[in-house]
Assembly symmetry: C2
Homo-oligomer: 278 residues x 2
């Protein structure tokens, strides 16, 4: 993949730089955007990928979570990709918040039209990784995410266990094949053969024997408005117990699904990953 | 002023609560919005007002600056009001980013139409203060702001020196009567008698003898795109020297005008104010 990486914006921030990049993506056949924070240019060795939730772009996390201060003195950068391709006009793509633009669900679509662009699993695990290696000389990766992006982090962490040194999630959609909203997206991206959905469902992956040697960290607010209908942490907790996957599921009393929750616990997640990235 | 304060949203955040409120404003004759962070409900004693810059609402600062973590263990809340009245349709009100909606300039307008709503100086120094006293039992106040809001903090801090225990600003418009963009707004809000503009210009207030006994803190990025045309820190620095006002003007090398600048130095500003609010 030849590089077309273009710096769009660069802001000094906590001694390092918060940057926005754009590039031509091989996997999505569109331009793609990501944001990043580079603690001290030229000295980074590892990268923490952050996958955002429904409706987000590359901007939400990098402006709202306050992650930069916790990486400022480290050798770890963070990259936060956009949540879907942009600029295409596929049927139904822009009609709802939980499918299409802003809602790529970090899978490789197989349905007509969508299969040509919505290849977010490969985009993150191959193309973003390659950009980080080539352009920023990154040697080690960890992954985290929020909500739909927590789902992305969990499935990528389970399926690419050698690539990612550690995995964590904030309020992840941890069993999407059981969530009505995600089911709608999965059927539109993957068709109605539910067997093909399982490789994009963290709970199903665990039950199928996918496993990590390290502990997966999940933080979940108890007042999260999506807790029971979309997130279902009990399901992944039960699957982890059954399959002996170490999982630290932290319930955070009184917290909801917003970035006010993420910003409160981001420091703990960053420290968790920095330990693994040493 | 009878209270019509209505809680719009409440998010647990760093052990406290980030909240959005709306109320009927006596001074603007509109509904007004503000955001706030309350470290531990019922225990706050003092309040740090934050005034935002052009185009901002009550949302920018509270979602982007990362202030909450620095107040979480204190007895000081923060209130961030919207930057103008909303919902009116005055002539020219919505035509440019630097006048009208999102650009109240923290003054009391005297021109037809605008004088009925754009009373942001009184709104902040009287109505917000009264709400904080009555509804949150606040006894002490300090004030800070960014850009246009830095201007607001400086003029209010100089004119209401007994009300505010300390004053700081990020990249303030410190001599608006000399800035082309602010001149346009001032003439539309106040008419063409430039004599009437001076009570809304921090540099002019200093030169007219307004003074504080404590040190005013200003942080200014050296790569700020508005530095020379709109902010002119040299002017306030010279006025402060001439009039023997203690001013700590910190140049922050490489920083621009964005919230990435504010978030980097917010901790220092908060600690500065917490000392004064003890």
């Amino acid at each position: 993949m030849p590089s077309s990486l273009k710096l769009i914006k660069k802001h000094k921030n906590f001694g390092g730089y918060t940057c926005y990049y754009q590039h031509d993506s091989f996997f999505t056949n569109t331009k793609m955007n990501f944001s990043c924070f580079i603690p001290e240019e030229g000295k980074v060795e590892s990268c923490l990928l952050y996958l955002s939730g429904l409706t987000c772009t590359e901007e939400n996390f990098i402006t709202k979570a306050g992650v930069q201060q916790h990486l400022a003195k480290s050798k770890t950068m963070v990259i936060a990709p956009d949540t879907s391709p942009r600029g295409t006009n596929l049927p139904g793509e822009h009609d709802s918040y939980d499918f299409g633009s802003g809602a790529g669900f970090y899978l490789n679509a197989t349905t007509p039209g969508y299969k040509d662009h919505y290849q977010m699993y490969d985009y993150v695990t191959k193309e973003i990784i390659e950009i980080a290696q080539k352009e920023f000389h990154i040697k080690k990766f960890s992954i985290m995410g929020h909500s739909m992006g927590g789902h992305g982090a969990l499935i990528m962490g389970l399926r690419e266990k050698n690539l990612f040194k550690s995995v964590s999630a904030f309020a992840p959609i941890s069993n999407p094949t059981q969530s009505a909203s995600a089911q709608k997206a999965f059927s539109s991206y993957l068709g109605n053969d539910r067997g093909s959905w399982k490789i994009y469902d963290a709970t199903e992956l665990l039950l199928a024997g996918y496993q990590r040697d390290d502990t997966i960290l999940i933080s979940q607010g108890t007042e999260d408005e999506f807790l029971e209908k979309s997130l279902m942490p009990n399901n992944i907790e039960n699957a982890a117990k059954k399959m002996k996957q170490q999982l630290e599921l932290q319930y955070c009393k009184g917290y909801d699904h917003s970035y006010f929750f993420v910003s409160t616990f981001i420091k703990e997640h960053v420290l968790f990953h920095l330990k693994a990235l040493v």
